[in-house]
Symmetry: C2
Subunit: 242 residues, 2 copies
């Protein structure tokens, strides 16, 4: 009982972190937030895992004080859940949560698309079109991994194109939680063709400065994505955890 303790919950991962390169001279709590967020959405800290302050602080090489500040912030983002006098736990997404999450993202991205149609510069649009071209090349080549990366960047560019910090912040927070579900979804390939076509239509609406169309198309795109993800999520696991 001395090498690994697991008093309750599921097996604890030996995290082993720190050794940040020359990134930024930020506060420790901020670095801890970024690190932990990456570990959670990356799956290293699986849903339902207990986050024991002592263990985590040792693994991160910091004391409990900045770690606790980081945990509070992650809880505000919805990535973990705090319970009084209990170890925080990585949020376990129920299917209902995922549906709500994509409803919210869809609504927010529609708003950003409408604003972006009016506000994106020609350079922004050129960049977007370049990414679209690249994405279609990967699509033809059947390269799935780069497609996801580009997809992420494209959505990010549209959100940024809205020039609206509150919407961007809200979107980013929700997007991180959505990633939690995305990585568990099966059959992601099924909607690939559709998705690429939808992206093309969205781009064309933006280039036409057609705010209504861009917003509507992006809303539908995200809604479809969420539905497909949910469909790939539900069959294996009934209603909640995998």
């Amino acid at each position: 009982m001395e090498e690994v303790r697991r008093p309750r919950g599921r097996p604890r991962k030996p995290v082993l972190l720190q050794a940040e390169p020359g990134l930024a001279r930020l506060g420790l709590h901020e670095r801890a937030v970024q690190r932990l967020r990456g570990l959670i959405v990356g799956g290293e800290l699986p849903a339902g895992a207990d986050l024991v302050e002592t263990d985590l602080s040792a693994a991160l090489g910091i004391s409990r004080t900045p770690l606790r500040e980081a945990l509070k912030l992650l809880a505000a983002e919805g990535l973990i859940e705090l319970r009084p006098n209990r170890s925080p736990r990585v949020t376990e997404l129920r299917s209902g949560d995922v549906a709500a999450l994509f409803e919210a993202i869809a609504g927010i991205e529609r708003a950003t698309a409408e604003l972006a149609a009016r506000r994106m510069s020609e350079a922004d649009l050129a960049g977007l079109r370049a990414l679209q071209t690249e994405m279609e090349a990967h699509h033809r080549a059947g390269a799935l991994a780069p497609y996801f990366a580009l997809n992420h960047r494209i959505h990010g560019l549209i959100v940024a194109g809205a020039r609206n910090a509150p919407l961007k912040d809200a979107h980013d927070a929700l997007h991180a939680r959505a990633e939690l579900a995305r990585r568990r979804a099966l059959g992601r390939r099924s909607r690939w063709d559709e998705s690429v076509a939808e992206h093309r239509a969205i781009l064309e609406a933006l280039e036409a400065r057609d705010a209504d169309a861009a917003g509507r198309l992006l809303l539908e795109h995200v809604t479809h994505t969420g539905a497909a993800l949910l469909a790939g999520l539900c069959p294996p696991a009934a209603t909640d955890a995998a």
Copy 2:
């Protein structure tokens, strides 16, 4: 130099808080968040005020540790700004920020209205109609204060009617920041008639389960509100602080 220190920034308010009634046995940091949020949106802690940890913790009757956790959370909400090795400061809203804020709120409320049109129960709608009737009575009577309270409750009911936690959370956070601006706006009476009429139209769209109309009307309503607020905000102060 011993009774009140003001080494930099503007005069420091002697806050004098604590003495929470029998509300809830929550963590101190949570209570501090609620207390400080109330003080900020209520104007007791004015925009630009320095929040010195030592003074605040003494005023709240807690130590710096939970206070710092509370400050981090308020910063995530955008109510205060943290600067490295400096006292946090109550966020000073520039007019551009206010415009962006209302764009975001409008987009989010539209999404909630569309969902609420499909999901609100008949009881929900009855409650909403009762509030509308009450609001119109106050309108006829010329009672401005209760109108604002009811306005707040009505918007809250619609957002809650969407049955979407992420949208509600995002909305609440943005709404708190919007309150910051609202209390500084002049000529709020000008749009009173319009606003009541718009609320009636929104209610009717919800009762007709017309999601598109409800969403569009609420979007426009919030947009108009933001524009009116901005108009009452800009003339006195050029671009930023009052």
